[in-house]
């Protein structure tokens, strides 16, 4: 961090404007001015509410103040359209009040065609846009003229975009911009992050953190947030994720606040929490609902109502993690476990956007394990330790898209393009051979059987020069640009009325006409499918027959998992936990042992004629699911007769015909678990198939399904699955399969987590053979067969099972007392 005196002041016009508002320039705002003066790029890390956006734009406004600059000066790129629009509105204030000669415009997918055309021929001084729109702009032959004079690129919410495929696309766009406008500096705006170097590398024109061309600016510390855990009066459930029991108290908290955001982890939770809050809503508080499956117009309405201050609360999923600042929000409620410290801080940061007053947040654990996780997150916030994944290499599918986009703008030289791409951080280490393979894929599909010469998309001149074969590919590129591949979804229409939103196809396939389900905050009756639209009508009654569908489940972060393990190990901390939770842990200590921070605890016990094996891995549900597949395969081979498994965020339970003995455990969890079975399993797994589909769409092998192209009764399209099977059989080393495997291994962190765990626990596995279930195993055992969790009758059924399990787990031998 540069701490030397900045020796820079605001121009008089700006100083007066600041003074008129009663402001003084923050140090970080001056530091950004200094960086711009020196022509250096800058990474500004500041909490929300620190005047971050203004700091990013201030140097550009100062440079443009004298009015003798025409053409595009500053390009702003935001991950959200709505954010670009909001920033535009905020920027107009200083521009108008200081009477600056600066034209600002936004450009997104919604911008009318005529305006877009004008923006290319007569660009404004400041253009606010998204990564996809930038990619499109760069694909026009006039891009060199448009961007030739560009001085500055501002990247907002950089922490949220770097390290994703959209981030890869944007990084490639930046590399292109640096070729078109060599003097252009980059400004990154970011929330506090665990890893800074990857962001610095991202901003560097050389694509590496050590290049020294990026200044790091810290934007002051926010007051530490006030976070409390809501502990319900009365019992603390053993399992479940809806926290319905705690909602009366949540409702009271919402009532006491001015405006609240109630964050949940899944869309199913959002629907149910929303319903329950309204059931409790005797005061008729305006409470809204916001999640990614709702129709865009519905979401915009809710956002606008929030901005106007017309809502007292909104129940939201990660769809509101980023976005427009709502100054009025003074309480953030997190229902269910937070899953990660950085993410929790991000959510808490949505409250009270002022540096001097702390944000207020309430964590609402839904079960006993979540109490531990909430406590661990709280400790993490106090220690200000963040979690987050280190960066992964850029996707080859995105690279393929970029190559076609580059060809759309005009002929290119392969050597020059390779050098340009290698200057983007995600592609810094890219092997030339791989680049050439991707280029060949773009040209002919890159198949060993070279049968597509006559259908080639790119034509080479044999001397390293390439050009687009036919303008038709230009149109295809523009239709399919971007890295967001939606799951196949179907629209939900209410009678003949409005579209309420979209649901995943798989959910609809499970519905029969007459079934009721929760969607968009209402109870709906499924009437059938018409073409690709779900026909629904309002239903009556309390409990939907089919529970709201899950979606957007987040894995527990490695860091938080480690803290939970620490909490379990250190019983000195337990008295600060709620009494039922402490008692539960004491019981476990008494009946079995506690899992240790290092190593792995495995328990085995008989139950109902089956043999159970419970492993306390704490690696997150996705990793446990993969581990469960691998472990059952191995148990099958070793003759244990595995019958099934269930995974929670904390625990994996497997049941089998034959008991696992102490001597078998090391062999079961040996590191080669990932070797022999993984390859085979991965190839078959739906995870790899899903990944391939995304890769194939992004790389331009198959097209996104666009409206009007959906399956009809008579026309059948091919599926990515079939292509995957054929390609895997006939050309297993094809570049898209390599891209798919890299994505699956790096993008989804499950495999990495399992491999890390297997290494960590080697020689440190503790096995406890028990005569019956242990207290700590109860929650995961309650997950078995828990497909439908809604409705009183089902709850009763589950309740019975739960009670017998708990009774079994906590039954004391005669005379023994719990040593409390």
């Amino acid at each position: 961090m540069d701490t030397a005196p900045l020796n820079i002041t605001l121009p008089a016009k700006f100083r007066d404007w600041f003074a008129a508002r009663g402001w003084q320039a923050h140090d970080h705002q001056l530091a950004m001015l200094a960086a711009a003066r020196d022509g250096r790029s800058a990474l500004l890390i500041a909490p929300t509410g620190g005047g971050k956006t203004l700091a990013g734009f201030l140097p550009s406004l100062v440079e443009l103040a004298d009015g003798d600059y025409s053409g595009l000066h500053t390009l702003y790129v935001s991950p959200l359209k709505a954010l670009a629009v909001d920033i535009h509105r905020n920027l107009e204030v200083p521009v108008a009040e200081m009477n600056l000669p600066v034209r600002i415009e936004t450009r997104t997918g919604d911008t009318p065609q005529s305006k877009r055309l004008r923006q290319r021929t007569k660009p404004p001084q400041m253009l606010l846009t998204t990564p996809e729109s930038l990619a499109l702009l760069l694909s026009y032959p006039d891009a060199p003229q448009m961007f030739a004079g560009l001085k500055c690129v501002v990247l907002d919410e950089l922490h949220a975009i770097a390290g994703t495929k959209r981030g890869d696309l944007l990084a490639l766009g930046l590399a292109r911009l640096s070729s078109l406008a060599p003097g252009c500096r980059r400004v990154g705006l970011s929330a506090t992050v665990a890893h800074r170097d990857p962001l610095i590398a991202y901003l560097s024109a050389e694509g590496r953190a050590g290049a020294g061309d990026v200044v790091l600016v810290a934007g002051g510390e926010a007051a530490k947030p006030e976070v409390k855990i809501l502990l319900p009066r009365g019992r603390m459930p053993w399992s479940g994720h809806m926290a319905v029991f705690a909602l009366p108290e949540v409702y009271e908290a919402v009532k006491a606040a001015k405006t609240a955001i109630v964050f949940v982890n899944t869309r199913a939770q959002a629907e149910i929490v929303f319903q329950e809050l309204w059931r409790l809503n005797d005061d008729n508080l305006p409470i809204g609902l916001h999640h990614g499956s709702l129709a865009v117009e519905q979401r915009r309405k809710v956002e606008a109502a929030m901005a106007r201050g017309a809502l007292r609360a909104v129940v939201a999923t990660s769809s509101l993690d980023l976005g427009i600042d709502w100054a009025a929000v003074d309480l953030v409620v997190q229902i269910g476990a937070p899953k990660g410290v950085s993410r929790l801080l991000q959510r808490i940061g949505r409250a009270n956007h002022r540096l001097d007053t702390p944000s207020r947040a309430l964590l609402v654990p839904a079960n006993r394990f979540e109490v531990l996780e909430c406590r661990a997150a709280l400790d993490g916030i106090r220690a200000m330790e963040l979690d987050g994944d280190p960066p992964r290499p850029g996707g080859l599918d995105v690279l393929a898209q970029h190559i076609i986009g580059t060809a759309c703008a005009g002929p290119f030289q392969a050597d020059a393009l390779y050098a340009e791409i290698a200057s983007a951080a995600p592609y810094a280490g890219l092997d030339r051979q791989i680049f050439d393979d991707v280029l060949e894929f773009c040209a002919t599909g890159g198949y060993a059987l070279r049968s597509y010469e006559r259908y080639r998309r790119l034509i080479g001149d044999g001397e390293g020069g390439w050009r687009l074969a036919h303008p038709v590919h230009l149109r295809r590129y523009r239709m399919n640009v971007g890295t967001i591949v939606e799951a196949v979804t179907l629209k939900v229409r209410l009678n003949r009325g409005p579209i309420l939103g979209e649901v995943e196809e798989y959910f609809v396939m499970g519905l029969n006409p007459g079934d009721t389900f929760l969607f968009a905050g209402r109870l709906l009756r499924f009437n059938g499918l018409k073409e690709t639209t779900v026909q629904a009508s309002p239903a009556t009654g309390d409990a939907p027959k089919i529970p709201a569908y899950a979606g957007g489940r987040l894995p527990l972060s490695t860091y938080l998992a480690d803290r939970v393990r620490g909490l379990l190990q250190d019983d000195a901390n337990w008295p600060t936990l709620p009494a039922p939770v402490e008692e539960w842990l004491r019981m476990q200590q008494f009946r079995s042992i506690m899992p240790r921070r290092e190593g792995l605890l495995v328990e085995s016990f008989p139950r109902g004629g089956k043999e159970f094996l419970v492993a306390y891995c704490f690696e997150g549900r996705n990793a446990h699911q993969t581990l469960g597949m691998l472990l059952t395969r191995r148990m099958e081979r070793l003759g244990f007769g595995p019958l099934g498994f269930v995974a929670s965020d904390y625990v994996l339970a497997v049941w089998s015909l034959k008991p696992v003995q102490a001597g078998d455990i090391d062999a079961l969890f040996a590191e080669d678990l990932l070797g022999d079975d993984l390859e085979e399993w991965m190839n078959e797994s739906s995870m790899l198939r899903r990944t391939f589909r995304n890769v194939a769409v992004i790389a331009g092998l198959i097209e996104k399904r666009s409206p009007g192209q959906e399956k009809t009764g008579r026309q059948v399209t091919f599926s990515a699955d079939l292509i995957y099977d054929v390609l895997r059989k006939h050309e297993p080393s094809h570049v898209l399969l390599r891209a798919t495997r890299a994505d699956a291994a790096g993008g989804l962190t499950d495999i990495g987590r399992i491999s890390g765990m297997l290494g960590r626990i080697k020689g440190r596995i503790t096995h406890r053979r028990l005569d019956r279930i242990s207290p700590l195993a109860v929650p995961v055992m309650l997950e078995i067969g828990r497909e439908q969790v809604y409705g009183a009758a089902l709850d009763d059924l589950l309740g019975e099972t739960a009670e017998s399990l708990i009774e079994e787990a906590t039954r004391m031998p005669p005379q023994a007392r719990l040593p409390l």
Binding site: T444, R454, Y455, Y506, M509, L722
Partner: protein, 223 residues
């Protein structure tokens, strides 16, 4: 053959093979539907460069079933070629393989909507429909002529909920009167059996024989 599904259509005893072909043991007849040969190049010339291995894959699978069952007659129920000039796009290796297959038995092409007139120089005979015993073979089902009708065209697939997860796959659909075959081609997707286009053919409900990894699973009648 324990991996097949046995069912009766209009009195004929048939077996659904895990490959997606239909076997009529009494006549030693092997029936396949919707091969869609050269679908890959069909897409490639419009700019979608699908892996060019679909024809090889489809023919190799067919060759495997034929050498397992040694049929006297093979009936390809139409849409054998993806489009009108698909035949011209076959490469030399695939051409040789296909000629070998058509020469190995009495080979019948049925005309489909993608290939109204299958090319004549591949061996085999072209018909719009064929009657054999109690069965009639045509490309697309005709609503009021169900008796003994064996057809393709719709590429039926079905999704079932198992205890572990939802599984979806190609399937044979029959009500004992008529039968719709799954598509055999490597790049042929599917249409869910519950969509009206298929369901309306079976007003009294239908049985599904779902093709799994190595076995055809017979599922109870759905209505």
């Amino acid at each position: 053959m324990p991996n097949t599904a046995r069912f009766e259509v209009n009195g004929a005893l048939l077996a659904g093979d895990p490959s997606g072909a239909l076997w009529w043991a009494e006549r030693r007849a092997l029936i396949v539907a919707d091969l869609h040969l050269e679908k890959g190049t069909g897409f490639a010339r419009r700019g979608t460069l699908l892996p060019p291995y679909d024809t090889r894959e489809t023919l190799t699978r067919l060759e495997a079933v034929m050498s397992r069952l040694s049929p006297d007659i093979v009936i390809s129920l139409g849409d054998s070629f993806h489009d009108g000039d698909a035949a011209a796009r076959l490469d030399a290796g695939d051409t040789a393989l296909l000629s070998r297959l058509t020469a190995a038995c009495d080979w019948r092409w049925i005309a489909g909507n993608h290939d109204p007139a299958p090319p004549g120089d591949w061996g085999g005979r072209v018909d719009s429909e064929i009657v054999l015993g109690s069965l009639v073979f045509r490309h697309e089902a005709i609503l009021d002529r169900a008796a003994g009708e064996i057809s393709g065209h719709f590429h039926p697939k079905a999704t079932v909920q198992t205890r572990a997860r939802r599984i979806s796959g190609r399937c044979f659909v029959t009500d004992g009167q008529r039968l719709v075959l799954p598509a055999f081609g490597a790049y042929t997707g599917g249409l869910d059996v519950t969509t009206p286009a298929i369901a309306r053919l079976f007003p009294r409900g239908f049985d599904i024989h779902l093709i799994g990894r190595t076995k055809v699973h017979s599922l109870p009648r759905i209505k």
